[in-house]
Amino acid sequence: MSRIFGIDLGTTNSLIAAMEDGAPRVIAVGGSNRALLPSVVAIAPDGAITVGERAIEMEPHLTVERDGRVSAVGFASGEYGAVIRSVKRYMGLGGDEIAPEDRARYTFADLSGPVVRFQIGTRVFTPSQISAEILRALKDGAERALRAAGKEEKVERVVITVPAYFNDGQRQATKDAGRLAGLEVVRLVNEPTAASLAYGLNKRAAGNVAVFDFGGGTFDISILSIKEGIFEVLATNGDTHLGGDDIDRVIVDWLLAELPDARKLDRHVWNSARMAAENAKKRLTDVAETPVVVELPGHSIRKHLTRDALDQMAEPFLARTLKRCELAIADAKLTPAGIDAVVLVGGSTRMPLVRRRVAAMFHKEPLCLIDPDQIVALGAAVQASVLMGMQGDMLLLDVVPLSLGIETMGGVMERLIHRNTTIPTSVGEGFTTAVDNQTHVDIHVLQGERELAKDCRSLARFKLGPIQPQPAGVPRIEVTFLIDANGILNVNARDERTGREHSVDVKPSYGLTDDEIERMLEEAIDLGEQDLEERLLISYRNDAEQILGALRKQLGEFGALVDGSERARMDEVVERLEAARTGTDRELIAKLVEELNEVTTPFAKRIMDAAIKLALEKKSVEELS
């Protein structure tokens, strides 16, 4: 059976990893050492799809031309195609749950349905379909990287991580994305738990560990007990709409405060400001103050941001994360002193403010032993190898983050499975009829912590029946609610008297039905041939770009090592490749990449020799002195 890979499908960045010689390693899907794939998807008016760095370039923004003019580039949402980022924030949401500010950012089709749908040209995309494109790019990139390393291997079976606090609908949407990308999702694993596996893999770690995961779009806190290879989650809490994105938005508001509202909402202006804001935020991790500049046509915004001011903007969000920590610690029946280690995960934990406040809350310096960008993907690879039976005694016991129940008389939520219950778990509940000869019983399943059904999230409705006509209260139907190891609900029902299994027709309140997914898959198969061609083309174009970029850099540094006739030959191939790269003949691109490789091989060898000579000279100088 094929190897299982681990995928971190992040709000901002996505990665794929696998075990190599007993250690988890990320795979450089973006070529030379680039493992982070930005979770950005561009869909061109003709339906062509681009994912990652190159999609960012297509995002509508403002750019300063050589002559100093500022012009708008990229395509805006709607009839001209669109660039979608942070699609994870929309996973599992219903149309009515879209915030007004999001409506300014993208064009949505019909917002009354149970699934958000992006309108792009004449086509409509659900968040699961967009996420599927990210998954496909990871799959293709990984297969390409493996091939380059001499390994012909397909990515077919995967573990995908999700925020621990994702509800049933959000998990289901993630699984759907995997299916739409043609992957078998062997397991969904919670991100902080995955991180704990990477953290505890070789240490024979023991004790209580808190994982603080503050990423681009989501926040999770999980508290685990690690003992003899068993990683048991005691409690988890979080917020699926709380992350670095929110801090960026506040900085943007400050940056654009003086602009009239209509200008602020302009997608080119807003995106440019967002980029400037995020960059400034990141710089302030290392410096105490920084200029922030947004060039607009006609004038430019020039402001100054200090780390103190940034901290003030970030503080309300940080306060929310700490509140969640308190709740999780209490649910774990621990105190901060009872927690032996705090592990930081996610890009936003690079902020000094976050580190300071986390240290104060837990009375200890948090650990950041593994790259916070990679730890979740590495942990997913560890879980993948557990699932392949290759990690001996190691076992993960995770929990369900939100209580599950049903609506009872008077609109009250009756809890059947409490939050932080270890999964898989099941509970049986008996149902009967309320009036004579009733043939169906309606059941409304809810998820959440509030008392009233209307304040909880509707998960699904289903109808039990047909029931044989009998006096009220006589039929006895036992319904089993089972939450599997992915944290996803399964329901089945049995007639107590006849012992017959009832079919349960579950209608999810949000998300796609099985039929809809089937239909999308069929459409995808129709487009399959073309998609494959297109993906291959893109991958060859990327190769071309890489070799051209590398050559440009080398000629800049070591141009003296090339003589005139050699240079002329190179330039000639470069020119042909540059031209081919914008076309659609992938065979030609592949051939020219090969040719350029040949022409430049002697040059590459000379660079190598020169570097060695330089190193030797340096060494002998050192030895002399």
Partner: protein, 213 residues
């Protein structure tokens, strides 16, 4: 009788197949699931070790590449094991389960105030009512919240005493398993605990709300 989805052997319901060790989707009680004798006094350390050991054998992570019926049996067996462990781990849940096994249960709406705690309970309820009426975010509300938090400590102490009493009775029940009277004596203790637990939860909610406001 139940059939093993892995080797096909028919056998009495167990957590794992007696022949091949594969998980079985058998309907099992809490003690049977963990392979323990029906005894109320339980060493929690040993219980946890047992739970971990069995989880290692039957958890779905161990059967990710198995055939669908085996995967399904593993899922159901693990759900049963987990539920059983959670029930037995908590003395109160264990006591309630014991009543159920003996055909007993607490009254649906447990409204009986534990007699020895009547005064404390009355005071706390009085305070909760006042908190409810006090204007949000006022000094009066904060003052009341502080008082209620102090009382919460007393409620918790009473709760701990009741749990200790419960565990002493567990030992007695185990010593004389045929005495139905002993099981019935668990009822008033469990009923006090259930009452206190609801009240403590109400206090926590009220304090939480006063902060949120």
């Amino acid at each position: 009788m139940i059939e093993c989805p892995s080797c096909g052997r028919r056998q009495e319901p167990l957590l794992t197949c007696a022949d091949c060790g594969s998980p079985l989707a058998a309907p099992l009680g809490c003690f049977a699931a963990l392979g323990l004798p029906r005894k109320l006094a339980i060493d929690l350390g040993a219980l946890e070790r047992r739970y971990h050991e069995l989880s290692r054998k039957i958890h779905p992570d161990r059967f990710a590449s198995s055939a669908a019926p085996v995967r399904d049996a593993s899922l159901r067996a693990t759900a049963t094991l987990t539920r059983s462990y959670r029930t037995l781990r908590d003395p109160v849940a264990r006591g309630l389960y014991w009543l159920e096994l003996n055909g007993e249960k607490l009254a649906e709406n447990n409204k009986r105030v534990p007699p020895d705690l009547a005064e404390l309970v009355f005071e706390v309820q009085e305070q909760l009512a006042e908190m409810h009426d006090a204007p949000a975010d006022s000094d009066a509300a904060r003052e009341l919240a502080a008082q209620v938090v102090a009382r919460r400590g007393q409620l918790q102490t009473a709760m701990d005493a009741n749990v200790a009493e419960l565990e002493r009775n567990f030992v007695k029940c185990d010593q004389r398993p045929d005495e139905k009277m002993l099981t019935l004596q668990l009822k008033p203790i469990l009923s006090s605990i259930a009452y206190l637990r609801t009240l403590i939860r109400d206090v926590d909610r009220a304090v939480e709300n006063s902060k949120a406001a």
